[in-house]
Amino acid sequence: MTAPRHRILLTTEGTYPYVMGGVSSWCDLLIGRLAEFDWQILPVVAPGGRPRLFELPPHAREVGRIEVWSEVLPPRPGWRRRGGDDALPATLTRHLLGWEGSTEAIVEAWRHCREHPALVRPAFRSKAGWHGFLAALREVLDERVPEAGTPPSLDLLEAATLYQTLYWVARTASAPTPETDLLHVTAAGWSAIPAVVHRALHDTPLVLTEHGVYVREAYLAAVRSGDSPGTRFAATRLARGLARVAYAAADVIAPVTEANAHWEVGLGIDPAKILVVPNGLRVPSAPTAPPRTRTVVSVGRLDPLKDALTMLRVAGETLRLAPDAQFLHYGPVPQGQEVYGRSCLQLHEQLRLGDRFRFMGPTDDPHGAMRDADVMLMTSISEGLPMAILEAMGQGRPVVSTGVGGVPDVVRGCGVVRPPGDDHGLAMAVVMLLRNPDLAWRLGRRGHRRLQRLFDESSCIEGYRGLLHTLAGDSPITDAPLVPVEPVAADGDAALPGDRDAAVAVGLTA
């Protein structure tokens, strides 16, 4: 008799299967390799249909889409019950935005939304809903918690914008989910909402994988946005509120790197809930020798988190010392980052980089792109465990990167890590490796071996296979070790990536 096939509901947020990127590649890999499960994909997306960029295997299907800020209206309430739950906007405000809001109260409110989807719109369109919201917002703004700082005084336009956002949170909670045996959430934000409600209704186990840390990235986006204090406050508190609920509901939180785990512990999660499952890559058998054309390759979206402006400045400084170097950047300008994309082009022109720095657009052959490199460069200010670095290591190329997220742990011994925004330090590292190709090749091969040892695709897959089968109630079918989180970094003070004095090159000193 064959074992029953378990169904997994995978919820995504602005990624798989509609957007290319690290999270989407990870989803594609996981779904493709774990064919013993029936995967049900529920993406949370922005309105305006996009073509699907990933072909789903036969054991996976999309079970709908949750469009936020769309023109799609919810079902109408029946004639007998026209009014909504007018307390809903106030409840969400108080507990999602309040520093010490109750996650149970939010789950209960979301559950009510799911059970009465037709009442969400009337609640938010009602006079009582609006006035309740304002009263709850004033309460939140009057909170005084030392670590929470003093909230700014929002204006009415910011309040109305927040009200609309909360409406969409409630609408997302009201969206139906199919029957499933396991819930797998890919970010502790909007995509967690339907899964959390499903768990509350059916007690289905929930796994949360965090590639970046949702709260951290929301704060970074807010800091860089140039928005008003009220807008920043609303965006970050909402992200924090959503993440708190996701963390509370999750049975297992699986960050891709220990660095993320430290954030999660810092956000109040019980370390016992956390299991680090590092990303993995199928390791090519043997790396090919670098081309020795003084080519520096970078891969990533042109958005503020990738800090492409620093990358351009690094290129500018490198080219002053190594004029025959060339930089190739692969990656799209994502939707909504067009202004940032233009600012990159302006800086490119200002620095007169010309053909020495070329924007190559998206690539569907990142391995090939890395093979053409002598050095791989990454200047992000936020990362989990970036696939681009694993791809560089897979091709035996040394990495020069900012020390964010899990990067220092990955690059240790096979590259150079500098603090974020340190364009001079990054440029010096690039120049050093371009001028010492033998050293670069040695570091690259060391990276290849490190990848085989620690970040092999099979380890990642087996890690999830074991985790998902265990949560589904099967006996564990793999002995692949999961890495429990250490509350404090176990090693590497000397190799702290941010230590400007000590760590010129983590790899070189390792």
């Binding site: 109408r76 609006w130 005084s153 204006d155 009220g230 810092g266 925004g421 970094a489």
Partner: protein, 445 residues
């Protein structure tokens, strides 16, 4: 930098230098320390918590940034297209009357005007003013092709030649609305100008209108071909029931406005081109006034920006929006008066008797009522709009039935004035609490 040694005194300058201000909370401080100073997360979080414990308790007053105003619509081009078509269609009155007789043309217009306005309002509400609505409309290929034919057929079967003409005029005018919304004014204007030229050369007027209706329908079908890449893609629609209800309400408002146009018996639509041309001043002025209302959205938001949630909700919120509305109304009334005066002077030259300043004033008030009714409808007051339109049309009907005719256009004046008087206070009320209106109505549709 070794995070273990990072005390608040060391962390604070780093964070404030990067942010240019004190951090909002410990998470923001921690993110800055990690992302821009390379401090490991666990240490950044610890340092940030200690830093916030010493932060001053000063509340920042936030002033939100206004969104960029939307690009202005092609107001001039669309206005010109409208002007040309109104003048051209006004020129159809004489040939049509000569060909079909006054009675048939009058009956046709009495049906066509309310029906056209109903369909225009309904289509705008259901499709044309909805994001992606044109794509949705394009999916109704069968209705786009068969609907016009059915309209004409039903009209013919019910009322003979008058019904045929009513159907054809409706199809042409409604098709023109779709083409203008689709940014295709040139084909529509060309069709109307060709039809006008054909009538001037003495071709059978009904056949010319039939050709215009067919060509307009084909132009609409072609303009809305589903593979057209310039049409915005649409979200999957689960909203049809809602939108259908809205479209029905808008259609009823359109019917009411159409009835207001035709219920005043002192206005003849069949005595040459002048009666139709009498619509021109108010129609052009209405377009000019409505064009100014594109500033309304930003004005409403400006009224909310910087008004603290701690204060009373009505403090000065409405002023910027009311200023925009006042300018729009002044534009409409002023231009109506100026163009009407010009028309009165030109009428003898056009060779027909003027309908008197009462009719022109009546059309002016009707245009004002239309502007305000549309505005209130867009602010979410469609039920009250229906009430106002019904009251205005009822008043006109009563005046017509009671044969109260102290001067031409009295019905239009009374109806228009009543509708405007009924909706204006509702608009002011909604704008005086514009935060709630924006939050609960405009942004949660």
């Amino acid at each position: 930098m070794n995070g273990a040694e990072l005390d608040p005194a060391a962390a604070a300058p780093i964070v404030e230098a990067r942010l240019g201000r004190t951090p909002q909370d410990m998470l923001e401080a921690a993110v800055v320390l990690e992302a821009w100073a390379g401090v490991r997360p666990e240490r950044a979080l610890g340092a940030a918590e200690r830093l916030m414990a010493e932060a001053p308790d000063e509340r920042t007053v936030s002033v939100s940034r206004l969104p960029r105003p939307a690009a202005p619509p092609h107001a001039l081009r669309d206005g010109l297209a409208f002007l040309v078509t109104v003048i051209a269609i006004a020129c159809w009155a004489s040939p049509l009357t000569d060909s079909l007789g006054v009675s048939d043309v009058r009956r046709a217009l009495t049906i066509a005007l309310p029906l056209t306005l109903a369909l225009q309002w309904g289509l705008r509400s259901r499709f044309l003013d909805q994001p992606g609505g044109l794509v949705e409309l394009a999916r109704h290929r069968g209705a786009l092709l068969l609907g016009p034919g059915a309209t004409v057929l039903v009209g013919s079967l019910a009322l003979g030649r008058a019904g045929t003409l009513a159907g054809l005029l409706t199809v042409t005018w409604v098709g023109g609305t779709v083409l203008l919304r689709r940014d295709w004014p040139v084909p529509y204007v060309l069709i109307i100008l060709m039809a006008t030229g054909a009538m001037a050369t003495g071709l059978a007027a009904l056949e010319v209108v039939r050709a215009a209706g067919v060509l307009t329908t084909l132009a609409v079908v072609f303009a809305l071909r589903p593979r057209d890449q310039t049409l915005r893609p649409l979200s999957p629609s689960a909203s049809r029931a809602h939108l259908a209800g809205r479209a029905l309400r808008s259609g009823l408002i359109g019917v009411g406005l159409g009835l207001m146009l035709v219920l005043d018996r002192s206005v003849s639509w069949t005595s040459g081109a002048v009666p139709a041309l009498a619509l021109l001043p108010s129609a052009v002025a209405g377009l000019w006034g409505a064009a100014h209302l594109r500033h309304l959205e930003i004005a409403i938001l400006r009224g909310l920006s910087g008004v603290s949630v701690d204060g009373p909700e009505t403090d000065g919120q409405a002023r910027p929006a009311l200023r925009v509305i006042a300018v729009a109304v002044l534009r409409l009334l002023g231009l109506t008066a100026a163009l009407s005066a010009a028309l009165v002077l030109l009428t003898p030259w056009l060779g027909s008797s003027a309908r008197g300043s009462g009719v022109l004033a009546g059309f002016g008030l009707l245009a004002l009522a239309s502007l305000l009714l549309g505005l209130l409808d867009s602010l979410g007051g469609s039920r009250w709009v229906l009430v106002a339109v019904a009251a205005a049309a009822g008043t006109e009907a009563y005046i017509a039935a009671a044969r109260i005719e102290p001067f031409a256009g009295v019905g239009l004046l009374a109806g228009g004035a009543l509708a405007a008087a009924l909706v204006l206070p509702a608009i002011v009320l909604l704008l005086s609490r514009s935060a709630r209106t924006v939050a609960t109505t405009l942004w949660i549709r």
